[in-house]
Amino acid sequence: MSPLSGELGAYLALILVGFLPNEVWRWLGVVFARGLDEDSEIVVWVRAVATAILAGVIAKLTIFAPGVLATVPTGVRLGAVAAGFVAFVVIRRSVFAGVIAGEIALIGGALLFAG
């Protein structure tokens, strides 16, 4: 543990092991993007990778749900995502409609199929 006083140590830790290890990726992003054209093939590929990573995050959160979300049955979680998707498609590709429908489905499903 830090030899410094609690408060100061906590803020130092925030900067050294919280801010820096995270922010360095943003700085690298600025560096790597130098001289890259918006329509270059590299940027197109990078966008595909970023999108795929995000999709992975979404799928993992839904399937291997963290924390208290794990108390909701997997089927209910997947069903809620499906319900949100249907609402999204039906209601003019509205993200709000999809989110609200998905939440209602999740809460409703969790109450109905409470383990």
Partner: protein, 243 residues
């Protein structure tokens, strides 16, 4: 038919336009919900509300903050925490690389890009990709800073609210709040995905992400993203070549 280019605004007007754009964005709700959880987490692990406040401003990444708070709070060594936080931040790199060319002009200095790069997080990135095409290039940096600030204000408020609400939320409500993130990310990336490339990247990513995690591949998100993204890109290129 191309639309007439909008006349460029002053930097302040562009900034405020970005700020206001967050008010009608679903991500404001998602961020609020997520950061209530983060504020509560900080409280439960014994950090001060001021510390939590600064963690949101400085780190500005939900997953990294959750790791930071829970690992540091549980007494993990600083090296371990730094590595875990660092690994969670890898996804920021491709997002920033994809965004910078959209907002940069020949005379833009790297220094001017540091703030929009800092503001880059999933919410801001998805909305920026969606809204920037309609923003004159001169205004894009200010607009992105406005987006980031708008979301930041929401997240900071939620951090403080969550800190004081801490652990008084019924489990079902906490689960509902946690679920906001995958739901909103899913729907908004679907909305953004008009090109085949984006749709394939999403589809492949949905499959490979959990698969690599299940196979316990090290840095699973990074590798599944590279594999899925590259596969989508190759299909896209093949189509272009065969045209």
């Amino acid at each position: 038919m191309s639309l007439p280019a909008a006349a460029p605004l002053s930097p302040m007007s562009a900034y405020l336009a970005g700020f206001r754009a967050t008010w009608t964005s679903v991500f404001s709700y998602v961020l609020f919900g997520t950061y209530i959880g983060i504020g509560a987490l900080a409280h439960d692990f014994g950090f001060s509300v001021t510390w939590a406040f600064f963690s949101t401003i400085l780190v500005w990444a939900g997953p990294a903050q959750v790791i930071l708070i829970s690992a540091l709070g549980a007494g993990a060594s600083h090296i371990e925490v730094a590595i875990a936080v660092g690994l969670s931040g890898v996804r920021l790199l491709p997002m920033v690389v994809a965004l910078m060319p959209m907002i940069r002009r020949p005379q833009t200095r790297a220094w001017d890009l540091l703030l929009p790069a800092h503001f880059t997080a999933v919410s801001m990135w998805v909305e920026a990709l969606r809204l920037l095409p309609k923003v004159p290039r001169e205004n894009r940096i200010a607009f992105c800073n406005g987006l980031g600030s708008g979301y930041g204000v929401t997240a900071i408020s939620a951090t403080v609210v969550g800190f004081y609400l801490a652990a008084k939320l019924p489990p079902l409500m906490s689960a509902g709040l946690l679920f906001l993130t995958p739901l909103a990310f899913f729907m908004s990336t679907l909305r953004n995905a008009r090109m085949l490339l984006d749709r394939l990247a999403l589809a492949f990513g949905f499959v490979l992400g959990p698969l690599f995690a299940y196979w316990q591949v090290g840095l699973d998100l990074m590798w599944s993203g590279i594999a899925a993204g590259t596969a989508a890109y190759l299909v896209h290129r093949l189509r272009e070549v065969l045209r």
